[in-house]
Structure formats: C-alpha cells, structure tokens
C-alpha cells in the first residue's frame, strides 16, 4: 500500500519507490530505500508527511509519499 495510507504513529517497511534513478538515489542517501523501517510521525491527511528513518526526521511531499509503497 502507498505510504499515504499509513496513519500517524504506525511503523512500516519500505517496499519500493516509483520514480527515476535520481529520486531513488536521493531518497536512499536519506535512508529511505527498500527494506528501511520507518515510522510515520505526521500524516494529517493533507500537506507533507514526516517520517522517522534511521534516527532522523524527513519531510516528504504528499505527491511523493503516494509513490512510495510500504507494508
């Protein structure tokens, strides 16, 4: 399911990213790559997301969150 479906406070494992190599590389450098465990810190139903991954807080735009599949 897309990351947008994950509620605040829930954990998920990243499965795949739908996007080009550059986007994937950028996300990977921030710790967001398939297999990464993340926790949704903020998902207010609109506006960007905050996820915790590898000890840092990353803001992800809603559009991009829709392209990130998690379980």
């Amino acid at each position: 399911m897309p990351l947008t479906m994950v509620n605040e406070g829930n954990k998920a494992v990243l499965l795949s990213i739908e996007g080009g190599r550059q986007l994937r590389s950028r996300l990977a450098a921030l710790g967001l790559l398939p297999g990464a465990e993340l926790e949704v810190i903020q998902n207010s139903g609109q506006g960007p997301f905050v996820v915790a991954v590898k000890g840092s807080r990353i803001v992800i735009g809603r559009g991009m969150a829709a392209r990130i599949a998690v379980e």
């Binding site: 190599r21 994937r24 990977a28 450098a29 000890g55 735009g61």
Partner: protein, 729 residues
C-alpha cells in the same frame, strides 16, 4: 622569515546538511558567515585559513550533501571539487546523534580516495540521547582518525587540526615536523587505532557486484577515484559517464553496467545503496550503543504543536508578526539616538562655514554625504533586530518547520515548501535569497522563485517604511501598516508564482523532500556573529554603494543651477502664484530651493516620468526618489531627504516626515510604500538574477514585470482609495 618555511595543507570540509559542518569551519577559520539549521544553507563554499606554527591550513567549506550523486547543484559542486582539486585532507563532519545516516557520505568519500579525518560532532547531543560511541573502535574499523567534537562549544578543535596535520604528514605531502604534532590528547587516541588497521576501509559489495566493478575499473584510466567511478557507473550515474569516461570506452562501460542491471533483481542503484548501508551497519556493530527503543524526542513534542495541521500556520504568522512588531518597538529608541548623533555631526560640520553659507562643498558634505549615509545608518537598529530574529529562527531549526507548514500553500501556487526558505531570507536581503534558490533542484522552480523574490520585502526597504509609516500613521496603526505591506508582498509573490507556473513554466512539480533538524538552542555567540556579519554587510553597503549613490544623487539634485531669468513652469509649486515667475523674483528661500531642484537633472527626470506616475498620486519629487531607489532601495530615503531639505543644516527624519505629511495624504504615503515594495529591484538584485538565472533576459523580465505590476497595483489602490474618500489628510 616564516613565509619561506610555511607549508600549506589544503583541507576540504564536507558533511551532511545540519551536521554542524559550517560551525566547525567557523571555529577553525574564524570566518564570519552564516550558520543555518536547515538543509542547504551553505550553498556557496567558503574559504578560510588556520595557522599553527609554520603550517597553514587552507580550508574550504563544501556545500552540505547527503551523498555524492549528482541530484542537486550542491552535490555536483562538492563532488567536482573533491575529484578535480584533490584536497590534501578532507574533514568529514558527521552528526554523532545520527551516525548511520551520516556515514553514508563517509563511505563515498572513502571510495573516492580522499584522505579523511572524521569529526564526530555534537557528541553532547548523542550522549543526551543515550547513544554511546566507541571512538577508538570506530577509527579502527573505518581506518581513519576520528575526533570527537562539540562544534557550538568549540570543543575538540585543536585535536581536529592535529589530526589533519598527521594525516597530511602520512600522505607524504609534507615532511614530518616531529615537534609540531603532540602525540597525546584525547582525540588522538584514535590515530593509533588507525595505524593498527593499515588503511582506510572500503565498502565490499559482494562477489558478484565486485566482479562488474573490477571489469569496469579495467576500462577506466588510472586514478585515485577509479573505484568510485566504477561504482557510480554500475549504479547508472549518467553524469559520471559524461564527465569521466572517454568516448571510445563508453559503449563497453554502459554495456557492462546494462548487463549487470538486467541480471540483478533490484535496480542497481538501490542494490548498491543497500549494500552500503549493510556495510555501515557492520561498522556500527560494537561501536554504537543505541537505546533499546526509538524515543520520542523533545523535538517531536514541539513539532506536534509547531507543525500542527491547524495551528502550524497561525503560529507561523504570529511569529512573523511578533518579529516585525519587535523590530519597531525595540528599534525606535535606538534610531532616535543615532538620528540625534548625526544631527549633531551635521551641525558641527556646518559650523565650519559662516552662517547661511551656500558653499557647494558644505552642501556636498552635510547634505550629500552626512545626510545620505546618516539616513541609512539610522535604520541599522531595525536591520540588526530583523536579522537577529531571522538568525534565531534559523538557528533553532524553526525555518525548516516553516517550510513544512507552508508547503501546503506553496504547492497550491505551484511552488515547493522549500521555496519558502529563500522567500523568507528575502525578508533580509534579496541577493542572498536568490542565491539560496540553489537548494531547489528544478530549474523551473528556481526561476519562478527568483522572479517573485523581490516581492518579499527586503531589509533595505525597511528604511522607506520606517520613514513613511510614522509620518502618516498614528502609533496604533504603525505595526498593522507595516504588517499589511509585508503581507501584500507575500500575497503578490504567491499570486505571481501561480501565474508564472500556469503560463511560462508549465509542467510537473519536483518532489518535496527535506530533513527536519532537531530543535537546537543557538548559542548567543553564533547569533551575535551572524547579526554582526549582516549588520557589517549593511554598513559596508552604506559606506560604498549608498555613499556613492548619495553623492551622485546630490550632484543630480544640485546641478545645473538655474539662471536669474529662468522662468518657473506654471503651477510648479502650490505655494507660488499661478502666473509665471522669474527665478530672481522668488523671495521665499524654500521656494527658491524647490525651484533649484526642479531645474536640476534629477528634477527633470522626475518631471519627465511625472505623467506616468501621476495616476498613482505621485509627483516629480517621488519620481526622482524612486529613480534613486534603483541604485539601492534605501537610497529612496536619502533622496527624499535631499529633495526636501537641500540647504537645511539640521536634517532629521522628523523634519522630513513633517514635510512629507505637509505635502502628501496618508493614502499617497501608503502608495509610495506599495510602489517601492513591488517595483524595480535594486541593481544588486538585477546583477545576481542575471548571474543565477544564467541570462540577462531573466533579469530584464524581472525588472520590467515587477515595475508593470507595481504600477497596476498602486494605480488600483490609489484610485480605489480616492473613490472610497481616503484621499484626504
């Protein structure tokens, strides 16, 4: 004597954004520059030196990056520097409280073949979070010296310098001056551990991947970074192919990479990134003792409120409102003091001439120079307070939250939440703000942001408001009037961006992605340094550009002098009779002065454009001052001072305000501010836009577009105000 023996070590400082890299750089070089707390503040790399005995370190502060892919301009700058300039030592600053993620860049630096010194920064934060790091073990596993440091307290800097010198010596770029490097010190324990290992660690990608890497390496020409290039080629980095692979070898290289990509289940770039993280996990094993569970930090708790979907925006707007109110209420008493000081100085200098002297030199010094520069310096308290507020917002980490909170709105007008950061810096000065648009990855986003940036009311426009608002509005309306001007600018910028996105720059928006740094308490020292840096820049501008402009403008307003039989144009001033008057027949000195001005070059330019600005409620005097504002926005104030007070010995703002109040209605006063806000950006903005957009076309587009917008908006407000009966005093 020392210079002939002096040895230079070239040092590059690299690290993730928010790792405290710039603070370390500042500590080492003593350079005065900005330290921010949000991604990408150090877009420009800065240079500085550090001396220790007869050794000189030449340091360069590379832009903060998360990796050395070529995703953004910062990464390209950092990577090109490391590859092409081959620094003697790279100081890699990592955030100890976020070690794994920070080591991602470190592994790339090792791969590229840089001689590294790892600075483990913010060890105090890590300790507070319950993280334990075995420094000697980390050094041993990575094969590079590791120095613990607390950048914002200046802890560990001597050890960093010593480690750098040791690495430089071991690179044989310098003969070892034995006496120079002490063998003790807490940070140097790790050096012994490094020697135990033998050489820097490198990521092992597993036999299959290593085979392809080796095959590609064979095709590439010999170099230190060959392995790194091969790894990037396996990952499909087109920029590396374009830059580094000889045309003849490209087919072979891409063929190998493509064959590997086909055989691999994962995308090669993802596979390599994962293997890199696995390697880092291996390094951290037995080095990093983390608390059992992810703790909800204080930052998260603050963010529940600061980034609340409902409260986030009001909190942000309230903070902005407080910033502007404080800027005025704290700044005004100080301004009065400066004003009195300059008044005294004028009086003192005037006293050197006989009373009532019309000496041009006296006028140049008193009215042109002291008046012009004094009129600018008087606003220093306001500027300093505003910069202080921005420094606090940056230093605490709130800036990134502001970007988050604003993304919802920014994405509606087709901009990035990240565009908000340059827009916010635009409140300080448009020039660094335009440079800060480099954090935006897409050229389209950058250009849109640049085009609307001058609408964010910069610090240089503050003097205009500071002069006009008290002149026309009672105390209770002064704060709201200022707020209204700023909000108008913001709304026009957003509207303009939306318009540009829908017309000139159509297409998909780039994704919003940003790290939220933990909240930090900025140290008083770093805030003062930032405040001083900006205040100094402002003063320097006052001493150079504005002084020059003030002298030119003084000349333009002083010459040519009308002859005795010059006939005044009919109705030239409301104090003169309607019938034609000869210059020699004027008895009132004020009218004489006004007539001289009218005759001068500036007056003529003002008159020339008067028909164009009359529908806005402006006369030739305002037109003349607006022309002056092109040199720098705050020159408007100096120009108004000259336009209204040439020949006056004691030129204080209050006198100028009285003149303004006498001549114009509050509606016109507001329209002047509106026009000054929106119209033609200053020369410096023009120049930086040309440079950053890469074409003078965009600089002209910005200038003419904004001037046209200013005319339309001011026209609507003025004529609308007249219809509503707001034209009276």
């Amino acid at each position: 004597m020392a210079t002939t023996l002096e040895k230079t070590i070239n040092v590059a400082v690299a690290g993730n954004p928010n790792s405290g890299k710039t603070t370390i750089f500042n500590n080492l070089t003593g350079a005065r520059q900005r330290v921010g707390n949000y991604p990408g503040v150090t877009v420009e790399w800065k240079k500085g030196t550090h001396r220790r005995g007869d050794i000189k370190l030449d340091l360069i502060d590379l832009p903060g990056t998360y990796s050395l892919t070529a995703f953004s301009e910062e990464e390209l700058v950092a990577r090109d520097y490391l590859l092409n300039s081959s620094p003697d030592v790279v100081v890699n600053v990592v955030d100890a409280s976020n070690l794994e993620r920070n080591l991602f860049l470190t592994t790339e630096l090792l791969e590229i073949g840089c001689p590294l010194v790892l600075v483990l920064n913010m060890t105090d934060v890590a300790r507070d979070r319950g993280l334990g790091i075995d420094i000697a073990r980390l050094a041993e596993k990575l094969g590079v010296p590791v120095v613990p440091a607390i950048g914002n307290k200046g802890v560990g800097m001597d050890e960093v310098v010593e480690a750098v010198m040791q690495v430089a010596v071991s690179q044989a770029s310098l003969p070892g001056p034995a006496g120079l490097c002490r063998e003790s010190g807490p940070g140097l324990a790790s050096l012994a551990a490094v020697e135990k290992r033998g050489g820097p660690a490198r990521v092992h990608y597993g036999s299959e991947v290593e085979k392809v890497i080796r095959e590609i390496e064979h095709i590439l020409p010999e170099s230190d970074s060959r392995r790194w290039q091969a790894v990037k080629l396996v990952a499909g980095d087109d920029k590396v192919i374009d830059q580094m692979v000889a045309p003849g070898a490209r087919e072979a290289v891409t063929g190998l990479a493509a064959r590997f990509a086909d055989s691999s289940i994962d995308e090669p770039d993802i596979l390599l990134a994962r293997l890199r993280y696995e390697f880092i996990s291996g390094i951290c094993q037995g080095v990093l003792r983390a608390p059992a569970s992810d703790l909800i930090t204080t930052s998260d708790r603050i963010d529940r409120i600061a980034m609340h979907p409902v409260w986030g925006v009001p909190i942000f707007l309230t903070l902005m409102y407080m910033v502007f109110t404080l800027t005025f209420s704290l700044g005004n008493p100080l301004m009065d003091l400066i004003d009195i000081g300059f008044g005294k100085l004028s009086g003192l200098v005037s006293g050197l001439w006989t009373l009532g002297s019309t000496s041009p030199l006296r006028s140049l010094i008193v009215d042109g120079i002291i008046g012009g520069v004094g009129g600018v310096i008087v606003f220093l308290p306001n500027i300093v307070l505003l910069f202080m507020a921005i420094a606090i917002l940056e230093g605490t980490g709130y800036m990134a939250r502001a970007a988050f909170v604003m993304d919802r709105f920014m994405s509606k007008v087709g901009l990035h939440g990240k565009s908000f950061i340059p827009l916010l810096i635009g409140f300080g000065c448009t020039v660094p703000a335009i440079m800060a648009t480099r954090t935006l990855e897409s050229r389209r986003d950058r250009l849109i942001t640049m085009m609307v940036l001058p609408l964010m009311s910069c610090g240089a426009r503050l003097p205009i408001y500071a002069l006009l608002i008290p002149a026309f509005f009672p105390a209770r309306l002064q704060g709201p009037a200022l707020w209204l001007i700023y909000v108008t600018g913001i709304l026009l910028a957003l509207g303009g961006a939306h318009f540009l996105r829908a017309t000139l720059f159509r297409g998909e928006t780039t994704p919003f992605l940003m790290e939220l740094p933990p909240y930090r308490m900025p140290t008083a020292g770093s805030l003062l340094v930032q405040m001083w840096t900006r205040a100094w820049l402002y003063l320097k501008k006052a001493g150079t550009v504005i002084l020059g402009a003030a002298i030119i403008l003084w000349f333009l307003t002083y010459y040519p002098k009308p002859s005795a039989d010059y006939v005044l144009p009919a109705g030239f001033d409301n104090t003169t009779a309607a019938e034609a008057t000869k210059f020699s027949e004027i008895t009132d000195p004020n009218v004489e002065q006004a007539a001289e001005l009218s005759y001068s070059i500036a007056g003529r330019v003002g008159r020339l454009i008067e028909p164009a600005i009359a529908p806005l409620g402006f006369d030739w005097r305002i037109g003349t001052a607006l022309v002056g504002a092109i040199a720098a926005k705050e020159v408007f104030v100096a120009q108004m001072g000259i336009v209204f007070a040439v020949g006056e010995a004691d030129e204080t703002s209050d006198q100028l305000r009285a003149q303004l109040r006498h001549r114009y209605s509050p509606l016109i006063g507001f329209c002047i501010m509106l026009f000054a806000l929106i119209s033609t950006p200053c020369i410096a903005t023009f120049a930086i836009t040309r440079q950053e957009a890469g074409s003078i076309k965009w600089a002209f587009a910005q200038t003419f577009g904004l001037t046209a917008l200013a005319w339309v908006v001011t026209f609507l407000v003025y004529q609308g105000g007249l219809l509503l009966g707001l034209g009276g005093a």
